[in-house]
């Protein structure tokens, strides 16, 4: 019988520690599928963030290291420079990448490090139970913005793809969303392209993925997907922001 669907080899048999309706599981699977398809599991080194995905080494069936909060791009820089034939990627959330680790991601991008960055944007600090993130939308309620994010008081969200695409060192920057089947398929092809670029030594790539956090958004899983489509993706518009290798 032909097998049409199975657990990727790049994922371990492990009980998930993510909340119901969380997007991390989907994104983990997409990365694992891509790594399997390229047959690079045995030469991949992942760098986990501090945040919900801190336990990524429990789920990925390849070498994964911890990094201090926000520092994954610095850790990845050294690994990729020393082992240029390995495939090195960071997996980072919005607090990790766009707040405490802003310097590290900007400068890894500016150096044009040949790494892949998977940036999961769910607009809140998930692990710590829903405080305002650098990507919290204007007006959005969080545990530190109970009246909603007032831009006069709390400032504006950071649009990471828009910022990084301005940096000469970057090669491929795309924002996708996993709010629908089409979005998931699109996300997978973006992740695949980002790894492809690294394999071809094309330099720095980042995929920002709009991902649901129903528990901290205080929504039903389906409602959270709908909110991404109707609200979040209006502010963080999906699309290819930069593609040096494209036509």
């Amino acid at each position: 019988m032909e097998v049409v669907y199975k657990k990727p080899e790049s994922l371990k048999e492990e009980i998930t520690t993510y909340c119901p309706g969380c997007g991390h599981g989907i994104i983990h699977r997409l990365i694992a599928e891509v790594i399997d398809e390229f047959n690079i599991r045995e030469k991949t080194i992942g760098i986990a963030p501090v945040g919900c995905a801190v336990l990524a080494y429990n789920f990925f069936n390849f070498d994964v290291t911890e990094a201090a909060h926000g520092r994954a791009p610095a850790v990845a820089t050294a690994i990729k420079r020393l082992l240029p034939d390995r495939i090195v990627f960071t997996y980072q959330g919005d607090g990790d990448l766009a707040a405490i680790g802003t310097a590290e991601i900007i400068h890894a991008a500016a150096r044009g490090e040949n790494i892949t960055v998977i940036f999961v944007n769910n607009a809140v600090y998930g692990m710590t139970k829903g405080q305002m993130a650098p990507t919290t939308l204007p007006g959005m309620k969080t545990t530190t913005t109970v009246q909603g994010r007032d831009t006069n008081y709390h400032g504006y969200p950071l649009k990471v793809c828009e910022i990084l695409s301005q940096i000469d060192g970057t090669s491929y920057i795309e924002r996708t969303s996993i709010d629908s089947i089409q979005g998931i398929i699109k996300t997978k092809s973006a992740i695949k392209k980002a790894f492809q670029y690294q394999i071809e030594n094309k330099g720095f790539s980042l995929i920002e993925i709009l991902s649901p956090c129903p528990v901290n958004w205080k929504m039903e899983p389906i409602g959270a997907m709908k909110w991404i489509k109707e609200v979040m993706s209006k502010y963080f518009v999906p699309g290819v922001y930069k593609d040096k290798g494209g036509k």
Binding site: Y57, V64, A68, A78, R81, R86
Partner: protein
Amino acid sequence: MDPTYRWQLDKEKMKKFLLTGCEAAAEAAIHAGCKFYAGYPITPQNRFPEYMSKRLPEEGGIFIQAESEISAINMVFGASVCGFRALTSSSSPGISLKQEGISYLAGCELPAVIINMNRGGPGLGDVTPSQSDYFQATRGGGHGDYRTIVYAPWTVQELYDLTYISFDIADKYRNPVLILADGILAQIMESVEFKKKKNKLPLKKWALTGCEGRQPNSIKSLFLTPGVLEKHNWKLYKKYKKIEEKEVRFEKYFCDDAENIVVSFGTCARISYESIKILREKGERFGLFRPVTLWPYPYKELEKIIEKAKRIFVIEMNLGQMLDDVKIANRKNLPIYFYGRPGGGVPTPEEIITFLTSHLQGGKRR
């Protein structure tokens, strides 16, 4: 060879090389098999990244000028994760920024070497030599219950020698090693004899290199399951106890018949040594005890040295930090007299002689 090198590498004819402390430590790292350096400019150790930017790529290593000290130490973390010998250097304010990373290195049991060319503090302080980072170096510095091995050289040759062995020690214990030097040692030029370049380095089965032919490896300091982190800390504790047993280093000079034991480390010990030599010529029975490892501290050895002594003198370029350790070793409860110069002050031998002789008949105890 590039004219900016202050020395000519001619292995056939020369045995000794005239180098600054920064250059000597950089060469020591290269000779010890270090393949990665990340740093950030800060006086008084700017020569370090400058020198490494040329020398390390020549040796097939990677030099990166990082965007911050924080990034630099995390790059070193990454290099260590994948099994390479790695180094960063800085001076006091920069070392403060590296503390998070050093705590992670200790928690993840990753070897690395960190060199601090101590300058005056607190805050931005100044750029002159100091020993004010003793507490930071020996009491952890970052968060958590951990220890780093700390070496305190007093000459450029010893800075070279200790840097050279630091990589072995770091690998042996899977622990970060700190070298606490200062602005004088960073910039002074002295002749240095090189050691053999290491070609065979220890195999690191725990390193992340891609899981070909083995189960995946992971490096972490996070242990959420109840009791597991406590167990991890006990494991680290046992390692630290072993280091305390095996790795203590110290030197003693004129101590055999000394009534007065001067305890001093690094540059300050070197100045004290000059003072003691002069006092010896006058018949005063002074001796110098110099800890080479500041952690593990040579408590037992100091305790033994002071058995027959009458007084202890502690001299530091700070306001009395190693003094605490001397007090721990002073179970005989001898009087301890302290002289310190904070904020980048460097004592002269005459100053030290005045201090030492003023307390020979008693005086105020610290």
